[in-house]
Amino acid sequence: MKINNTVLFIIKRLLKMLFTIWVVTTIIFFLIRLMPSNPVDRYVEEQMVQYGLSAEEARAKASFLFSMDLDKSMLEQYITYLGQVIRLDFGDSLLSPGVPVMAIIAERLPWTLFTVGFGLLLSFIIGISAGAILAYRRDKWYEPVVSGIASFLSSIPDFLIAIFLLILFGVVAWGGGNPILPIELLRGNYSMDVTPGFNFAFIKDAIMHGFLPIMTYTVSQVGIWVLLMKGSTISTLSADYVTLAKVRGIKPRRILSAYVGRNALLPISTEFAMRLGFIIGGSLIIEQLFVYQGIGLELLKATSGQDYPLMQGIFLIMTIAIVISSFLAEIFYAVLDPRIKAKEGN
């Protein structure tokens, strides 16, 4: 019975996940194929007017470029398109002909995941430690100060934090010398003179190049973890089992780790997976600021260059990342907290 409930829950969530991806795919198809003055029609027209191609030639060229058969009915085109998306085949990029969209995504996505993941993890570790300490030391003078800073940091936009960091590390010459980081040399993902691979020079270089984006994600996320963890710990501290543990004479350190910490962390940890997905979507501006060659910068390039296959591929991948991470968060939470399943099961 118990297993049944869990399986039912997971199947329900899985269906919702697939439904979401289908909706987004359909929206994209609609935009590219059916909107008035959509890119396919525009391309055909352009070829006919500018290069004097016949309507058939232009359509054949467009069919090849967008990997759609324009002679088929709209429904058939839509079904073929869905089939391609399922196989993660988005065709070739328009700006760099012959390069599959998936190849570009596969090259860029790891860098975004690296900086976003690293930054998020760092902010999570710092934030929950600080939050737990603050919950314990509510009578100290620094509690309102740290909480104030946390609420300040959690509300300012991440790209403004990026600008501050850039000025702080890359522009201001502290004590009359050079700025701390040579930002002009830190564009891109790694320097030309290192060979990518598992060697020390490359890893060190990659971390140096990713330093400012990672710092940005850390600083912009840390505040929210502090506030969440503080609130969660305070409410756990007043729980009956904690009082009982104190009465039983269990050492405070052990109460902190085994009784309070673990239970306070539970509701927060699911936030982690959720945020991972959303920050990938928000990486656009940060990567543009630091000229970091991740998936966000690639989306901007694709948009300004009207590279529709690349654009739809990246947008869909971003959505899938968000959907999967919120799916994982829900499953994770349900496994840890049986009450959720019980509520959803009926």
Binding site: F19, T20, F159, L284
Partner: protein, 297 residues
């Protein structure tokens, strides 16, 4: 209306105003961050109102005074065309605020309508709307706006409306659950039992209890609108008008960041946007304390 009723009415009116006045005073003065929030926002509003008259923008460029550091003549220095930066700062908040107010008003209207409707009607329709909202929430907002910009020519006005429509799902969900919990409360149950009309229940019984909730979400929506607007202006997707986001964009594309002398050109609008957003967040939190007494310390 007879005499007694009139007296009764007057008393209840005056005590209602007293209550509102009391709530306003509490919202502004009960803690430091809330007070700072109201203070900062008032200063920005006053500056925005007087700026066109007191600190008019330089309309012509002055090639002789490009990227100057602060001086008595130019409080914050000059930009890449020799125009005064302080005047741009003073005038740069208006468009952002107007845009944010349009987005927030429209967005709240949409969210309340859909949320209340869905919670009261219930049934299959409620389920479908909830599923759609879930789906909608997992579409990344900023990338969607960037992708849309390839298909639609955006200007601030279209963008404000678009943003309000795009943010329906989050508000719909919170307002729906708020109305659902209100529905469980005794006074609403009684009005259902009395067979009062749905419109009476929505507008006379439920809506007044949502005011606080709406006020809080209004500030949050304004914050989100400013974030999105400034972000897209920075990316060069929205057309350049006169606001702080545009100043950041200009300063950035002019490479100001690499010349420490004129760093104020990029720093000043950045700080202004931070102040505006933080003041909105703090006001929202302070309003939450007023309308959600259970959260008071």
């Amino acid at each position: 209306m007879d005499q007694h009723e009139q007296v009764f009415q007057t008393i209840s009116q005056s005590s209602k105003w007293k209550k509102i006045l009391h709530q306003v005073r509490y919202a502004i003065f009960h803690d430091v961050s809330g007070f700072l929030g109201f203070l900062i926002l008032s200063v920005i509003l006053i500056l925005t109102l007087i700026a066109p008259v007191v600190f008019p923008l330089d309309t012509v460029s002055n090639v002789g005074a490009i990227l100057q550091p602060p001086s008595s003549q130019h409080l914050l220095g000059t930009d890449h065309l020799g125009r005064d930066i302080w005047a741009q700062i003073a005038n740069g908040g208006k468009d952002l605020l107007i845009m944010a107010i349009i987005t927030a008003t429209l967005g709240i209207f949409l969210g309340v309508m859909l949320g209340a409707f869905s919670a009261i009607v219930g049934g299959k329709l409620d389920e479908v709307l909830l599923l759609l909202a879930d789906v909608w929430l997992s579409i990344p907002r900023l990338p969607l706006l960037v992708v849309l910009s390839a298909f639609i020519t955006l200007n601030s006005m279209i963008f404000a409306v678009l943003l309000a429509i795009l943010s329906w799902a989050g508000l719909y969900r919170t307002i729906r659950s708020e109305v659902l919990s209100l529905k469980e409360r005794a006074f609403i149950e009684v009005s259902f039992m009395q067979n009062l009309s749905t419109s009476h229940i929505v507008f006379k019984e439920i809506a007044p209890n949502l005011i606080g909730f709406i006020a809080i979400n209004y500030t949050l929506l304004m914050k989100a609108a400013i974030y999105a607007q400034v972000g897209l202006v920075f990316l060069g997707i929205l057309p350049l008008e006169q606001n702080w986001g545009v100043m950041i964009n200009q300063a950035w594309t002019q490479g100001v960041i690499y010349s420490p002398d004129s760093i104020l050109y990029i720093l000043a609008p950045t700080i202004m946007i931070c102040l505006l957003i933080v003041s909105l967040v703090w006001i929202g939190k302070s309003l939450e304390d007023v309308f959600n007494p259970s959260l008071r310390k």
